[in-house]
């Protein structure tokens, strides 16, 4: 699955996802990716976010919408992402998931839920401070 958030130099935001879902799903099953607020969300007045992982769990919590709302409330993107993960963790401590967050001012962050087989999450960033797309890693919480 890819989830992507873009902040244009004019401040316009966009977000998107594309996936073939989870392996061996029951035909007809749809995860979080095509659901606004779950797989991704964008709002010029705050920022944008996207989620990845177990879509059946993620879409119950609208993590991308929630992250954008945390940023609207003043949270740094990294903190907004972490708060979203912690909310889900309360109900599903073993869920597989990660969130990327970007605010309209160009700051960004990510967070993931720590599992024995998933301790770090990799994501890509490109902005005017880097010459090329840069891989970033975040330790899961």
């Amino acid at each position: 699955t890819i989830g992507m958030v873009v902040i244009h130099k004019t401040g316009h935001t966009a977000a998107g996802t594309s996936t073939n879902g989870i392996k061996f799903k029951i035909p007809g099953r749809v995860g979080d990716s095509p659901i606004p607020g779950a797989g991704a969300y964008a709002d010029d007045t705050a920022g944008a976010a996207a989620a990845t992982g177990d879509g059946d769990t993620l879409l119950r919590f609208l993590p991308s919408y929630q992250a954008v709302e945390y940023m609207r409330g003043g949270d740094d993107p990294a903190i907004a992402c972490q708060k979203v993960i912690l909310r889900i963790q309360k109900y599903y401590p073993n869920f597989f998931g990660a969130v990327i967050c970007a605010s309209v001012n160009g700051s960004y962050g990510a967070a993931c839920n720590k599992l024995p087989t998933f301790t770090q999450f990799s994501f890509m960033v490109s902005n005017s401070l880097h010459n090329e797309p840069t891989e970033k890693k975040v330790d899961c919480i």
Binding site: I2, G3, M4, T17, P27, T52, A98, F118
Partner: protein, 182 residues
């Protein structure tokens, strides 16, 4: 200096980031960047979790989900369970631009895509067929059924309701596969 514009995407899919970035530098909009970035992953079948030829369902078919959101107009286009069309994010963009709906699903989404000029083609590959054959040979493990007969932890379907609901202590029974995600 301002860090804008900015592109961030999940997982280390560098070519997707690059495509989005160059779209912005070429004068494209934020929506153009998202569409082009995700489309690169669909073509490259990033990680086997994006695009055709990955994550077959129980029947062995690959179906696609995609969504694109304009944070200026709060407008969204999305497709779910899209069959036989490779460029799911492109179809989602057409839903956004050419309809007042938000989400189209299944065969009807395919018909919509065809009407928008997308090609109807098989999404399966040798890789997806092998994945499915291997899953069948492992008695359809893992799967996502519960409270059905025959016992889904041991046997393939077809399944029927078991007549009783067993309370699940943990809803996540299987090992996490980081190459199987939404």
């Amino acid at each position: 200096s301002s860090p804008l514009p900015l592109v961030v995407n999940t997982w280390p899919f560098k070519n997707a980031t690059e495509a989005a970035w160059w779209t912005l530098l070429s004068g494209g909009s934020a929506l153009d960047a998202v569409e082009n970035g995700c489309a690169v992953c669909e073509k490259e079948q990033c990680d086997g979790t994006v695009g055709f030829g990955g994550s077959p369902d129980e029947g062995g078919e690959t179906t696609l989900d995609a969504m694109i959101m304009d944070g200026t107009a709060m407008d969204v286009g999305a497709v779910g369970g899209l069959r036989r069309i490779k460029n799911a994010i492109g179809v989602a963009r057409r839903v956004l631009e050419h309809t007042t709906h938000t989400l189209l699903v299944g065969d009807s989404a395919t018909k919509f895509a065809e009407s928008m000029g997308f090609t109807n083609e098989d999404l399966s590959t040798k890789t997806s067929r092998d994945l499915h054959s291997d899953w069948l040979s492992r008695n359809c493990q893992p799967n996502y059924w519960r409270n059905v007969i025959p016992d889904p932890s041991k046997y393939c379907g077809p399944y029927k309701p078991s007549g009783f609901l067993k309370q699940s202590i943990s809803p996540h029974k299987e090992e996490v596969d980081i190459h199987s995600h939404d």
